[in-house]
């Protein structure tokens, strides 16, 4: 009887989770999705907790939940520029939870219910701990890279035989896993189990260190999928279908986002994971001619902006770094006041996670109707009077169209070079994250505005508003 109530609650929770994601298809209904998700979670927790036959130690549960609130609430208040690292950190927590529960279940059954360690269950436990622990360390490394923590290298770390080492390690884990599935209860089985945990933790670290900032959107999506799949594996272990459905929803979301990110960079999964950008950099220097930038003062740029009919702003990670989104908003207001149409062109991989730019611009109160996807804005680019490239680099590099030697060859880009005039705001003359020269900056119609994005925008806005004051 009691279990009927529990199972019914789980079915209800699954339906609410699906609605929750369904409502995310439109910003207008999306907040309903959050309420539905919360409702599902509360139902699931109460239904589980209210099983008197199983749950005895209530005080432990209360303490863990209270601590979770104490950490969770501050984590939800981080500045929006820090959302990528918060997301990575929560993948780490998800992986850790799955790994620990898998470990607990294995040792529990090993000590007093060995008949539970069937081949099927053992396979699920191995999948759970491997995915869980590698997601844990991998996501911690990713979060560290994104946060810019000192002892975690920011640039991709490459060393000879790197791919061989990683693949070898993965094969070793798989082999040990198979051995353990076949011998779950031998005297040495728990040692093998612990070895798998250690290797999975190590693999998580090694798998992230060669990955650079530009690949972070893809990697975060892949880790998202892993975190979901580890929850699915936990469902198989505990014979709990709610874990399977909710985990599968998360897993498929991670999968879809990874595919979108890979397409937006014209790279395959394998290439992102095993082809660190480092190897291609040398080819860049060979072009002999010395190119020069033309730079422009904010004052001159302001005058040209005033004459425009259509201005397209192309934001990138540079905007997030200098927290310039609120200044962007001031510029947007100034231009709008003059009857100029202003659109934002959003490349799928701009920033450090899927949708990063949209959230920052929404925070700055820019209506989402003016945030336009790459595929929709590109046909309009020839009519664009001024393209303002704001801390973006690779996503506007025309070399992606034809230069076969370029590491970004084939990547779809925003056609900033088709606009009548281009202003590019850039911190320094160094090439972008991937170390690739961007010929857009040397084009006849491009003028550079060197400086921190926020400072440059501040100058622009100052000139525009003083002109207005007459």
């Amino acid at each position: 009887m009691n279990s009927m109530v529990t199972q019914f609650s789980y079915v209800l929770a699954t339906a609410l989770f699906i609605f929750s994601l369904h409502w995310m298809n439109d910003p207008k209904s999306a907040r309903r999705g959050v309420f539905s998700g919360v409702a599902a979670m509360v139902i699931a927790i109460i239904a589980t907790w209210a099983q008197p036959a199983i749950i005895i130690h209530h005080e432990w549960i209360v303490i863990a939940i209270v601590l979770g609130f104490m950490v969770g609430v501050p984590l939800s208040r981080v500045p929006l520029t820090a959302v990528p690292q918060r997301t990575a950190l929560s993948h780490a927590f998800g992986g850790l939870a799955a790994g620990l529960v898998g470990t607990a279940e294995y040792f529990l059954w090993l000590s007093d219910a060995q008949e539970n360690l069937t081949t099927f269950r053992m396979t699920a436990i191995i999948a759970e701990i491997v995915l869980g622990y590698l997601t844990f360390t991998g996501s911690i490394m990713a979060a560290g890279k994104l946060q810019g923590i000192k002892w975690i290298p920011q640039r991709p770390v490459t060393y000879p035989m790197q791919n061989v080492t990683n693949i070898g390690l993965l094969l070793l884990v798989l082999t040990l896993g198979i051995v353990l599935v076949m011998n779950p209860v031998n005297a040495w089985s728990s040692t093998v189990f612990l070895a798998i945990i250690v290797l999975a933790l190590l693999f998580g670290v090694l798998f992230i260190i060669p990955i650079g900032g530009a690949d972070m959107p893809t990697v975060i999506s892949i880790l998202n999928a892993y975190a979901g799949l580890s929850a699915v594996a936990m469902g198989f272990v505990l014979d709990n279908k709610l874990l399977i459905t909710a985990g599968a929803l998360d897993g498929s979301s991670g999968l879809i986002l990874s595919i979108i990110m890979c397409k937006a960079m014209n790279r395959s999964f394998v290439n992102v994971l095993f082809g660190a950008f480092g190897q291609v950099q040398e080819t860049q220097e060979t072009e002999g001619e010395h190119k020069v930038y033309k730079s422009e003062t904010p004052e001159g740029a302001a005058q040209i902006l005033e004459q425009a009919n259509l201005v397209v702003i192309i934001p990138g990670y540079g905007m997030a770094v200098s927290q310039a989104q609120h200044k962007v908003r001031d510029l947007y207001e100034q231009l709008k006041k003059r009857g100029i149409t202003v659109k934002f062109a959003i490349h799928p991989v701009a920033g450090r996670m899927p949708g990063h730019m949209n959230v920052l611009l929404a925070e700055a109160d820019i209506p989402y109707t003016d945030l336009v996807e790459m595929d929709e804005i590109n046909p309009d680019m020839p009519q664009c009077d001024v393209a303002l490239v704001l801390g973006a680099n690779d996503v506007v590099n025309p070399a992606a169209r034809y230069s076969k030697s370029s590491p970004i060859y084939g990547m779809p880009i925003i056609d900033a070079d088709k606009a009548k005039t281009v202003f590019a705001v850039k911190r320094s003359k160094n090439p972008g994250f991937a170390g690739i020269e961007n010929e857009l900056y040397f084009s006849d119609k491009t003028w550079m505005l060197f400086g921190d994005a926020k400072a440059v925008l501040n100058e622009l806005v100052k000139h525009l508003s003083s002109d207005n004051g007459m």
Partner: protein
Amino acid sequence: MHEVMQSMDYWSMLFVFVLSTFIGIGVIGRVSRLLHTPLMSITNAISAIAVVGSIIVTGSEHPLPIRVLGAIALFASTTNIVSGFLITDRMLKMFKGDRKNK
């Protein structure tokens, strides 16, 4: 008999997994690209459904070390639920269409 029941349940779990993956792909494929960051935060919170497993491990009559592992897992999952839903809502509140005020 018992064996048969067991193996049938494995198959039904696999069915559930495959079908919910397809539902997930169908539903998430329609999510607006504008909302991919909040989408990731909310699926994060949803996958913290691992909380269910953690509660069972923590609250049952198990040896102490097992319950400690469960409690840490429960703490981690709760953190994800709380921060995941709160930050999703915080972000979604910021998405506004054409403003009428001002």
